[in-house]
């Protein structure tokens, strides 16, 4: 085998191995990285539950957002829903949006859940779970709070919310004294 060809083949083999290692590293480190509080909330565009109409998170800029990740098969999500609905009714006129993100679920189950819980706040459907990794969501329910500038603020509540968690973090998102 001529020397140049041999060197070219060796370089190609080393490049392929380096590429595979880089891909492995990227896969290991990119997933489930919880974003930092104070940074911009990762944007997404998702369809409303039971509709083709889409919601762009960036369109809510100027409002405080309670971003709640849930699924219909999640027990604590059932307990939490009335509290979120109540907060939505209390705060929607003060510039707060409660936004539910349903993931890892069946459409029909999610719609039934919304009807039974009497949810009137907007709910989007993340069929492929594409937002979960960006928000470091590892289970349900999880809640983030976003201020009027679109930044993540307050606490990332990984688990069921309490009334105190909700009130305190909504005030932080509104820029009011907690």
């Amino acid at each position: 085998m001529p020397g140049r060809l041999r060197i070219a083949l060796q370089a190609a083999a080393v490049s392929v191995v380096a590429l595979l290692l880089a891909l492995l590293g990227w896969q290991v480190f990119k997933k489930d990285q919880t974003p930092d509080v104070g940074r911009s909330a990762p944007n997404f565009t998702l369809p409303h539950l039971g509709s083709d109409r889409e919601l762009d998170l960036a369109s809510l800029r100027g409002k405080a957002v309670v971003l709640n990740f849930w699924a219909s098969w999640c027990g604590p999500c059932k307990d939490e829903a009335p509290m979120l609905e109540s907060a939505w009714n209390r705060y929607k006129d003060k510039g707060v949006v409660v936004l539910g993100v349903d993931a890892q679920d069946f459409d029909v189950d999610a719609q039934r859940f919304v009807e039974r819980a009497g949810i009137t706040y907007p709910v989007v459907r993340d069929k492929h779970g594409s937002t979960l990794g960006h928000y470091g969501v590892t289970g349900f329910p999880e809640t983030w709070f976003i201020d009027r500038q679109g930044r993540l603020v307050g606490e990332h509540v990984a688990g069921p919310l309490t009334e105190e968690d909700l009130e305190r973090n909504i005030k932080i998102a509104l820029g009011e004294p907690a």
Binding site: W73, Q104, D105, F106, K127, G129
Partner: protein
């Protein structure tokens, strides 16, 4: 010739017939092995999570309704995305996942074959020198002449 053809046909039928039956009349256990629970990333067969239970109930209902295996999988992909499939579909970009390992095997076999060929040629080259009658290799004529001279000088 006819026998060979018949054997090939029998083997082909043995492979294709069960696959066709499985496509038309899927069972829960086989689908449980071919689908992934979206929350725990294990096969449905290994998972006891709430969503896995719900998916099992869905599959049972679709089997009872007469859906084929492909139809059931397509409905689950529509709900959860392609990550719900234990093996990637053999189309589009995912085809790479099927083709690359085969290409790797073919390339590796080619490299091994090439190395074996070169090695065997090298061995032949080593054996190319003519052995003398006593089984040893003959020397270079110039070297032999010098050796004879040295021996003659020694004898003298």
């Amino acid at each position: 010739m006819t026998r060979g053809l018949l054997a090939v046909l029998v083997v082909a039928l043995a492979v294709v017939a069960p696959a066709a039956a499985s496509e038309q009349n899927p069972t829960l256990p086989e689908l449980e092995r071919e689908l992934i629970c979206p929350t725990c990333h294990e096969t449905l067969a290994a998972s006891t999570s709430p969503i896995a239970e719900r998916m099992r109930a869905f599959i049972r209902a679709r089997i009872a309704a007469g859906d084929t295996k492909s139809e059931i999988k397509a409905k689950l992909v529509d709900q959860f995305g392609e990550a719900v499939l234990a093996a990637p579909p053999k189309s589009g970009f995912n085809l790479l996942a099927w083709v690359l390992p085969l290409a790797g095997i073919v390339i590796a076999a080619g490299v091994v074959g090439l190395l074996a060929y070169r090695w065997s040629r090298g061995r032949k080259g080593e054996e190319a020198g003519e052995p003398s009658t006593n089984g040893r290799f003959s020397l270079d004529p110039e070297l032999e002449r010098r050796l004879d001279e040295e021996l003659a000088r020694y004898d003298a």
